[in-house]
Symmetry: C2
Subunit: 729 residues, 2 copies
C-alpha cells in the first residue's frame, strides 16, 4: 500500500487543472483529459501539431481488429484469436501556421499554458500564448448525441499575422502496441471520409462542418483536410462539428445523408445541450465531501468518467477496463462490468445497468459456443472480450476463471432486485440464469470422498492461486446461481425439465463451502490453510508487482492473495454472513492480501467500515478516488482505470455510506472518516432521487424527486419522503 502521489494537477472541487506543461507528463495529461460518450472516446491530445511524445488515441466502442493467438503448443479449448480495440480517426485534426511557422509546442516557445477539465459542464479547455497570439481550444464529445464531437478554436492577437489553419479528419493513427494502422479508405468527399477495418469489416463514416465554410481541399490517403488562410488581428473563432458514424455490418450501405441533418445544428447548440445534460446528471449522481478537497475532486472525476464511458445507448457495447482512454487492455470487457460497474449504473443510470446485461444476452450465442469448446453445456462467458468470444490467450485465466459466468447471474440478480425490472427478467434474464446454471451443472462434479458437489480446476478472482479446487467464492456464487435460477423459473415459468431443476437444487444443497465453525473462517479453496506462508506485509515495496519480480509459478505456491475472494463474497452477499464471520475472515485474509488487483483496496475499505475498523477503512480508501489524477500506479499514461473508478464510488456509498443492496430493500449504516466534516451523495432508487447527507454522528435521508423510498437505516426500516429524516448514530 506504500504508493506515492504525484501532484501534477491542481486540486479543485469541480475541475482538473494543469498549469504549465511538462512534456514528461504529456501522456498522463492525454489520459486525464480524455473525452468520451460511450460511443466514442478521444484522448486529451493537442488539436494542433505536437511532435513530442504522445499517443494520438481515438477510439470507438466495439470497433476492433483481431489477430490469431499462437502458443508453443496448442491444446483444445484455448482461445484461437484475440480481438482488440483499434485506434481510429483523429477528428480533431488541426494544423496551424503563423507567419509560416508551424505551431508545435515541442518546438515553438509559448507561455501561459493552461488546461482544465470542467466536470460540471463536460468541457475541456486549453490555452497558451505564442508571441502575442493567445490560442484557446475547447472540445467535447456530445453526451446527448453520441455521433457528435465539437471543437472550438479562439485566436486572439494584438498585431497582425498571416495564419494558415488546416482542419481535417485523419484515419492514419497507428495502434501503438501492434505498430499498425488498420484502416483502408473506402470513400471520400471534400468534407467526409469513409474507412474500413481490414478484417472485421467495420466502417466509420466521418463528416465535418466548420464555421469557416468550405476551404481549400487537401486530400491524402485516409485523410481529408480543408485549408483556410487568413490574416489575424483581434479575435477569430473557428468552430468544427464532426459526425462520426460506425457501421458494424459489412452488408449494409451507409446512409450518407443522415450526417447532414446532424450537421445542421451549430457548435453552440450542441454545446448548450451537452452542458445542460451534464447539469442533469450531476443532480442525481453527485457526491460532496466537505473537508477533503482531494477526495472531493477525485470522486467527481470517477463519477464523471463512469458517465463518459457508458450510458446504455447500445446493448452491443460494454465497458472496457480502460474505457475509451487508451489501448491498454485492448478495450476488453472483464467481469468488472457486472461486479463493480453494475452497482454504479444501477444507482446512477439504470438504463446503462440494463444494457450491460443486454450485452451478455446479445452474446449468448458466443457463450454457448464457448461452453461446447470446453466440453460443457449451457453458456460459458469469456474472461475478456470485445465481440463476445474469448480473447484471453493465457489459458489459466481464460479457461479457469469460471467465476466470470457466475458474475453474469449475480448481475441479473442484483439488477432485478434493485430495479424491479420484471420485464427484463422475463424476456432476457431467465435465459441468462438457465444457461449459466446449465453450464455450472456440467462443469462441476462430485467428490467421491464427501459426496459434495463442487468445482474442481478453477481460478478464483484471486489470480495468485491457479488450478485450485472448490474456490469458496466460486462455489458460493454458483450455489446462488442455481438457487436464484430455480426460484425465478418457478416464479415466472421457463422451459426447464423438472429433473434438471431438481438436479440443480441437489447441487446447490450439496455445494461444498469450506467453513470452520470454530474459527468462523471460510477456507479460500481446498487446502488453502495448508499453503506455506508468505509475509505479505513485510514485502519489499521495490519488488512489486510480483508478476515483474517473481518467477511465475512461485506466485502460486504461497498463501499470498492478489485480491480477497472470501471477503468479496461476504460483501456481495452481505446478508448471508454474520458480523463475526465478516470480522474474522477480514482480519485473516487482509493480512495475506497484496492488493495487486486495483479493485482490492476499495473492497477492504468497505468491509473494514462494516466491521467498525474505521482507521483501516480510511487507510484503504486513501488513493482509490485519485489513482489516476495522482498517478499512484505510474501507469496513468496508458489510460484511466475506469473500472476502479466504479470501485471508488462503491467505496464511498457502500463503505462510508454503509449501503447494502443485497436485501429486499436498501440498507444503510453511515459513518464518516475522521477528517471529513460532512459528505453527501445522491442516488437513483427506482426512479426517485435519494439524497444522503452525513455529518459526525448524524445522517439525513431525503427524497429530492419522486416517490417515497423505503430503506433500512441501522437495522430499522424507514420510509423516506421529500420531508427527509434525521438519524443520530
Amino acid at each position: 500500500m506504500a504508493k506515492e502521489a504525484k501532484k501534477y494537477f491542481k486540486v479543485d472541487p469541480w475541475k482538473i487543472i494543469e498549469e504549465g506543461f511538462d512534456p514528461k507528463e504529456g501522456r498522463v495529461g492525454e489520459s486525464i483529459f480524455s473525452m468520451g460518450n460511450e460511443y466514442m472516446g478521444i484522448r486529451g491530445i493537442f488539436d494542433e501539431m505536437y511532435s513530442g511524445d504522445k499517443l494520438v488515441g481515438c477510439y470507438f466502442n466495439g470497433v476492433y481488429e483481431e489477430k490469431p493467438l499462437s502458443y508453443p503448443e496448442y491444446f483444445n479449448g484455448l482461445a484461437k484469436r484475440c480481438c482488440f480495440m483499434i485506434n481510429a480517426q483523429n477528428w480533431l485534426y488541426t494544423r496551424i501556421f503563423v507567419d509560416g511557422v508551424e505551431i508545435d509546442l515541442a518546438k515553438v516557445p509559448f507561455t501561459n499554458f493552461y488546461r482544465e477539465l470542467d466536470m460540471k459542464t463536460g468541457l475541456v479547455l486549453r490555452r497558451f500564448t505564442y508571441k502575442d497570439i493567445t490560442f484557446t481550444f475547447e472540445r467535447f464529445t456530445s453526451i446527448n448525441y453520441h455521433y457528435i464531437g465539437g471543437q472550438k478554436i479562439t485566436m486572439q492577437s494584438e498585431t497582425a499575422h498571416d495564419v494558415k489553419l488546416i482542419s481535417g479528419i485523419d484515419f492514419t493513427p497507428i495502434h501503438e502496441e501492434e505498430g499498425k494502422n488498420y484502416w483502408t479508405e473506402c470513400d471520400k468527399g471534400d468534407d467526409y471520409i469513409v474507412c474500413a477495418t481490414q478484417t472485421s469489416g467495420q466502417r466509420i463514416y466521418s463528416k465535418m462542418k466548420t464555421s469557416f465554410g468550405a476551404g481549400k481541399v487537401i486530400s491524402e490517403d485516409k485523410m481529408i483536410m480543408q485549408e483556410y488562410d487568413f490574416s489575424l488581428q483581434g479575435e477569430k473563432v473557428f468552430e468544427k462539428v464532426v459526425y462520426n458514424f460506425v457501421e458494424r455490418d459489412k452488408n449494409l450501405s451507409i446512409d450518407l445523408k443522415m450526417a447532414d441533418s446532424y450537421l445542421a445544428k451549430s457548435y453552440d447548440d450542441y454545446r448548450a445541450e451537452h452542458v445542460a445534460r451534464w447539469a442533469e446528471i450531476w443532480k442525481h449522481s453527485d457526491v460532496e465531501i466537505d473537508g477533503d478537497d482531494e477526495n472531493q475532486q477525485g470522486i467527481r472525476f470517477c463519477i464523471f468518467n463512469m458517465h463518459q464511458t457508458y450510458h446504455g445507448d447500445d446493448g452491443r457495447l460494454n465497458v472496457g477496463a480502460k474505457g475509451l482512454t487508451g489501448e491498454k487492455y485492448s478495450g476488453w470487457t472483464f467481469w468488472d462490468s457486472e461486479t463493480y460497474c453494475l452497482p454504479f449504473y444501477m444507482f446512477n443510470n439504470p438504463k446503462a445497468a440494463k444494457n450491460l446485461l443486454m450485452y451478455r444476452y446479445n452474446t449468448l450465442p458466443q457463450a454457448k459456443e464457448r461452453a461446447i469448446e470446453q466440453d460443457c453445456k449451457g453458456s460459458c462467458y469469456p474472461m475478456v472480450t470485445i465481440d463476445g468470444t474469448e480473447s484471453c490467450g493465457v489459458w489459466q485465466h481464460g479457461n479457469l476463471e469460471i467465476h466470470v459466468t457466475a458474475a453474469i447471474a449475480y448481475g441479473v440478480w442484483h439488477y432485478v432486485r434493485n430495479t424491479g425490472d420484471e420485464e427484463f427478467l422475463k424476456n432476457y434474464g431467465l435465459e441468462l440464469l438457465v444457461e449459466t446454471s446449465r453450464y455450472f451443472a456440467s462443469r462441476g462434479d462430485w467428490s467421491p470422498k464427501t459426496g459434495e458437489f463442487g468445482l474442481w480446476g478453477v481460478m478464483g478472482p484471486d489470480e495468485f492461486h491457479m488450478m485450485v479446487h472448490n474456490n469458496t467464492y466460486t462455489n458460493f456464487m454458483v450455489k446462488k446461481n442455481f438457487l436464484y435460477t430455480i426460484e425465478m423459473v418457478k416464479k415466472y415459468g421457463y422451459d426447464v425439465p423438472e429433473e434438471e431443476l431438481a438436479q440443480w437444487q441437489n447441487m446447490a444443497d450439496k455445494m461444498r463451502i469450506n467453513y470452520d465453525e470454530k474459527t468462523k473462517l471460510f477456507e479460500q479453496h481446498d487446502g488453502y490453510f495448508d499453503f506455506p506462508e508468505y509475509d505479505v506485509k513485510g514485502m519489499d515495496p521495490d519488488k512489486v508487482p510480483v508478476y515483474k519480480y517473481w518467477a511465475y509459478d512461485r506466485i502460486f505456491r504461497v498463501n499470498m492473495l492478489k485480491q480477497p475472494d472470501v471477503v468479496l463474497m461476504q460483501f456481495f452477499y452481505s446478508k448471508d454472513f454474520t458480523l463475526e464471520q465478516k470480522r474474522e475472515n477480514f482480519y485473516f485474509y487482509e493480512h495475506r492480501c497484496s492488493h495487486e488487483s486495483s479493485l482490492s483496496p476499495a473492497i477492504h475499505s468497505i468491509m473494514a467500515a462494516e466491521i467498525g475498523d474505521l482507521d483501516m477503512a480510511e487507510e484503504y480508501m486513501a488513493y482509490g478516488s485519485r489513482v489516476d489524477i495522482d498517478d499512484y500506479n505510474r501507469n496513468a499514461h496508458q489510460g484511466l482505470h475506469v473500472t476502479s473508478m466504479s470501485a471508488a464510488w462503491m467505496n464511498m456509498i457502500y463503505g462510508f455510506g454503509g449501503m447494502r443492496s443485497d436485501g429486499d430493500i436498501l440498507s444503510f449504516k453511515p459513518n464518516i472518516p475522521k477528517k471529513w466534516n460532512r459528505y453527501a451523495f445522491t442516488i437513483l432508487v427506482r426512479g426517485s432521487v435519494l439524497k444522503v447527507e452525513v455529518v459526525k454522528n448524524k445522517a439525513t435521508f431525503k427524497v429530492l424527486e419522486g416517490a417515497p423510498v423505503t430503506v433500512e437505516i441501522y437495522d430499522k426500516t424507514y420510509e423516506i419522503t421529500t420531508e427527509g429524516i434525521e438519524i443520530e448514530y
Copy 2:
C-alpha cells in the same frame, strides 16, 4: 489398451524383414531400418532417388538449432528459446541412371523388393530387380568408429547397360516441421564438404572415399558429388566410406587431415570390425525367448536400438526420446534417461550409464542458471533439453515437473549402488547430489497446518494433474535425494555447512508422504482421493488420446492418471514398501490409469508380476517390445520410441526376471509367462557376465565370464559362479 498390431514386417528371431514394398509404409520402414551409433543416425531412406513420400532424416547427436519461444503473454522463468535437433547431411546420397532412366522406385517398375535389418550383425541390406539388373544395397554406421558410415552397392546384370552412378554428400535436406534447411556451406573440395549451422555455429566436416576412385566432380550449393559412367554386365560393386566429423566449438579450426587416416581403411575392414563388435555386444546383452517369436524379435529390436542410440563415447551427448531416428521430440533428452534408460545401460554398458550422468554433470552450469531463473538455489534440471537449457515452451511441464531434478540424484544413487563406481561419486556425483538437494531445499516449503515439509505447485510424472501439492512420488524422491546426499557427504566429505546438512535432514524427516495406514494407500497428491471419478476402463477407444479429444483443462480435474506415480515410486524403491502396500496401491491406481505415457504399461507389467498377478503382467507386456515393429500407436513413421524400448527391456528383466536393483545386492524372483517355454538373459554385473535362464518352475543362474556374483534369489542369498546354480520356484 485396445491397440491393434499392423503386421507389415516378417517375424524372425534375429531379423526385421520387409518383403515387397508398400509405399504407404515407406516412412515406417525408414524408422525401423534406421542405423545409428550414438554419434550419428540415419533413417532407412533409399540410397538412390525416391520421389515418393519420405523423410530424408540424417541426424547428429547434439547438433541443433534454436528458435525463440513466443507466448500470448510472457512470465518470468518461462523458457525463452527452444533448441531442436536439425536434419543434417545425407551421406548415402546416390543417384543411379540405367540407359538414361533414373532408378526411382516411385516411378520405375521393379520386382523382388527385399529388405532386412540383421540385428546380429548390425547391417541393413536391401535388394530389388529392375529389368534384368539386381541392385543390392548394404549399409552400416560403425559401432566402433563413430565418425564412420559405410555403403556398398552391388549391381548384377545379365545384359549390358549404360549406367551412370552419382555418389555424394548432400546437406540440403530440410527440417520437416520447421520447413527449413539450416546449413550454410563453409568449405568444400572434390570429395569433402564443410557446412555450418546458422545460429548455433556448429560445423560438420564430411568426406567420402569410394572404391571407384575419383569421378567427375559435380558441385552444387551444400552438396558435393562424383559421377561415374560405366557399362554394366555381370557384377559390379561400389563401396563408399564416409567420415563425418562434428566440431561444436566455433572457435576451433577443423583438422582436415584427420579424415585421411580414417579413410585409409576399406569398407570391408570397417564392416568386419562392426560385425565383430555386435557379436561381442550380444554376448552380454541378449535376451532369448522360446515359444514367442514375436516377443523374441521385439526384445532384440529394443536391445539393438538401445545400443545403436547410445554407448557412452561422449559425456556431452544423451538419449533423445526418439534417438536419432526422426525429428519428432526434437532430439530432446527427458527424465527417461535416468529413470528408464540408465538401468538398461547399467547392466549392458556401464560406461554409457556413467556418461548419461556425466551429461548432467557437464550441464550443471545451465541447471544452476535455471534454478536462479526459478528464484531457487542449487541446480534445476530441464524438462526437455539438448544443450542443458530448458526447451519446453509449455510452462506447466517445463516449470512444474521438478521431479526431473530428483531423477538425476536417483540416477546417481542407482548407478553407484550397482556399479560401485566410487570415483564417479567423489568426482562428480557428490556435486550433483549437493546441488539437487540445495535446489529442493529452496523450492520446498513448510505447511503451517502440520509443520511438514513439502513441495507445493508441482506436476508429477502423471501429467494429467497439474499444480498439485505434495505429489507423493516427488516428495518421496526428494526425501531420498536429501538422505542419500547427507549420507554420501558424510562418507566422502564435501564442503557443505553442517547447518545445511541438518536442515536437509529435518526436511527429509518431516517430508509429507500422504499415507493411510488403514487402507495402505499412498495418496498421489494432496486431495487426490477427493478428485471426481472418471471411468477410465469405460473410455471410448476411439476418443483417445485425451489431449486430442478433451478440452485441455478438463484433463486436470478428474482422477484419471496418465501414468502411475505411486506405483512407479514403489518400483524404484522396491525395498521401502511391503508387498501388501504394493498390491493395494497397484490395484487402486491401475484402475484409474489411462497409460497415455508409453512408459506406463511396462511399469504395470513389472509390478503386476511382483504382486503375483501374472495374467495382468502378461497383458501389460503385450505390445511393449513391438510398439514400433507393429506400429501399435500408428506413429512409427515419426521415428522409434527409443526410451520405451528400455522400458520393454526392464519389463523382461525386472518383470519376469523379477530383478530388483535398489538393494545392497541384486535380487531376483523369476517367473515365466504361460505361453513361453523358456527365456534367458545375460547382463553385466560389476564386470561379470551373468546369465539367467528360466523355464517353468526352474531358474538357472550362471556367471559366464568374470568374478562370482552375489545375488538374492527368492529372498535367499547365493554366490553365483561359472558353475551356476538351479533354483526351483
